[in-house]
């Protein structure tokens, strides 16, 4: 009995001793006091030092996109640190190009705030928030694309620019032990501030897409953060060429809805590629926009129409269709959304038509 007590006592003593030592160390060595973080030379926030820049900014309601939650494994939380952070850590090295290194780009999750910092953050991130929303409708657009309508609860409204995307949080379920985040473009009109729509295509074994297609029900509460991205309608009134495939419809649709609402007279052609008729969706909605906007044309095209489709519209790869319809594109600008391969092929076609690359806009979703 006495022996047992001694054993327990010694163990407790050693453990508490070490814990106390670490606490003292944390309070003295790990205490970097209060540090000033100057953001874009405009705003200065005071944060308690010793934590990651990502966490410190989050407390100040500034959300830097991060898909891994701060473990340095997604490479998304890039910010430019102009002063006070030292050299990039080996954990950041794989994510930074030599140019970024030169410019002082760092991963916010790996930068520890130890002294006053001067950082540069893209302006649009200031409007990024975390939202709680309820699924108000789930509509099958095709056999593998679902339209998800989210009614915002807290905060009750969102302000975004047509073309931007959000990060949808998938809670832990059969396919994942921890929350994961996936980016989806908003497909609804920015004027609907109380609701957003997403178009999500089922990817076999995709963590988020399986969750949305197989588990999500109307009435469920979900979390997302955003909006992100600078894919948006450019000012200037140039002729527009929009090209999308599959769920790439989403951001283009958002842009078109806004144009419909504002009666935008810009000339605009929208090429939409699908395999066969069962992969086509929202055609009627697009025709309605055509009627509202005299200078807008919707050109759906099928790459492999089924015999029963009785398809009389355009056929062939989307790049061929664009090639047939577009003449000189040197004065136009292009908006693309789809798979990286589709985007690459389209960029090539548009450049061959004389469009400068600086006027070809797209989001790179892998």
């Amino acid at each position: 009995m006495v022996e047992l007590l001694i054993a327990v006592g010694v163990l407790c003593l050693i453990n508490t001793g070490l814990a106390a030592l670490l606490m003292v160390a944390d309070a003295t060595l790990g205490n970097y006091g209060e540090c000033k973080v100057t953001i874009n030379d405009k705003r200065t926030v005071v944060v308690s030092g010793g934590r990651s820049l990502l966490a410190a900014l989050k407390d100040e309601q500034i959300f830097i996109p991060s898909a891994c939650g701060g473990r340095g494994s997604c490479g998304l939380c890039k910010v430019t640190v102009l002063e006070g952070a030292g050299e990039p850590l080996p954990t950041e090295a794989p994510w930074l190009t030599p140019e970024e290194r030169q410019a002082g780009v760092r991963l916010a999750c790996q930068v520890k705030v130890k002294r006053d910092l001067r950082v540069r953050i893209p302006e649009e991130l200031f409007s990024v928030r975390q939202y709680r929303a309820r699924v108000s409708a789930l509509v099958d657009l095709t056999h593998d694309i679902k339209q998800v309508t989210l009614k915002l609860e807290n905060p009750p409204e969102i302000s975004f620019v047509a073309g931007q995307f959000i990060q949808f949080e998938v809670p832990p379920y059969a396919l994942t032990d921890e929350p994961v985040y996936r980016a989806y473009s908003i497909s609804s009109d920015p004027a609907d501030t109380g609701e957003i729509e997403l178009e999500i295509r089922l990817v076999p074994n995709g963590i988020c897409t399986t969750y949305v297609h197989r588990h999500l029900k109307v009435g469920d509460l979900v979390t997302f953060n955003g909006p992100y991205g600078d894919f948006r309608l450019q000012p200037g009134g140039r002729e527009m060429i929009c090209i999308a495939g599959g769920s790439g419809m989403a951001p283009i649709k958002s842009i078109l809805l806004e144009m419909e609402r504002t009666r935008d007279p810009r000339p605009c052609r929208y090429f939409f590629g699908a395999r066969s008729k069962r992969d086509l969706f929202l055609v009627e909605r697009m025709r309605a926009i055509e009627r509202a906007l005299p200078n807008f044309r919707f050109i759906p095209s099928l790459s492999a129409p089924a015999p029963e489709d009785r398809w009389e519209g355009e056929t062939g790869m989307i790049t061929e269709v664009v090639g047939r319809h577009v003449g000189d594109a040197s004065q136009a600008e292009a908006y693309l959304c789809g798979s990286p391969r589709m985007i690459e092929a389209c960029v090539e076609v548009l450049r061959a038509k004389g469009m400068p690359e600086s006027r070809i806009f797209y989001d790179k979703f892998a």
Partner: protein, 197 residues
């Protein structure tokens, strides 16, 4: 058997009884971080430092606390706690004191708190009833031996990447284990020079 001196034990721990290649301890970080010479050099240095210091610390805890009280059986849990606390403490100190040192060494410290070679070294030296100086020699030797092995491994793997055509089924950990086995065989050549057991 006549008692060995400090240097004999150090030599033995590096070559004849290399903790990685004869006891196969510390394999996970050995396989995981041996792709590049630079990373393995940082990790190796951190292991040398931590093994050397925690061996001595644990020796002291054992000799002055656990052994007199007859609490031998607590050594596993106590050693692990000492190692974990110590690595954290050192990480904090390094981070505070020198950014350059933190870049090359400090970053690896939390990683190796769970390296079994370090716990293994502490356990071996109490099982073998080492004196203080022997414990020092063994701790330093084990660390250096581990670092030597991972550096050799990283060198080989880097070459392999440039020159050899590894069958696809063996890429990554597969070929690394084959190499580790071959290295262990090579280290058997040191056998018989000094014996620790």
């Amino acid at each position: 058997m006549q008692p060995l001196g400090f240097f004999a034990i150090l030599f033995a721990a590096v070559f004849t009884n290399n903790i990685l290649l004869t006891n196969y301890l510390g394999m996970c970080s050995f396989l995981g971080c041996s792709r590049e010479l630079k990373t393995s050099a940082g990790l190796g240095a951190a292991v040398v430092f931590v093994t050397a210091t925690t061996s001595v610390l644990n020796w002291a805890v054992y000799a002055y606390v656990l052994a007199p009280l007859g609490l031998d059986y607590l050594r596993f849990i106590v050693f692990i706690v000492v190692i974990a606390a110590f690595t954290q403490l050192v990480e904090m100190i390094i981070e505070r004191v020198s950014e350059a040192l933190y870049q090359s060494l400090g970053l690896f410290l939390p990683l190796i708190a769970v390296n079994c070679a370090i716990l293994g070294a502490s356990l071996f030296l109490v099982i073998r009833n080492y004196t203080f100086w022997h414990a020092c020699g063994y701790g330093i030797g084990s660390g250096v031996g581990w670092a030597l092995a991972i550096l050799a491994m990283a060198g080989i793997r880097q070459r392999l990447q440039q020159r050899a055509r590894v069958p696809r089924g063996l890429e990554g950990p597969g070929i690394a284990l084959v190499i580790a086995g071959t290295m262990a065989l090579a280290f058997m050549g040191f056998n018989g020079m000094v014996s620790l057991n």
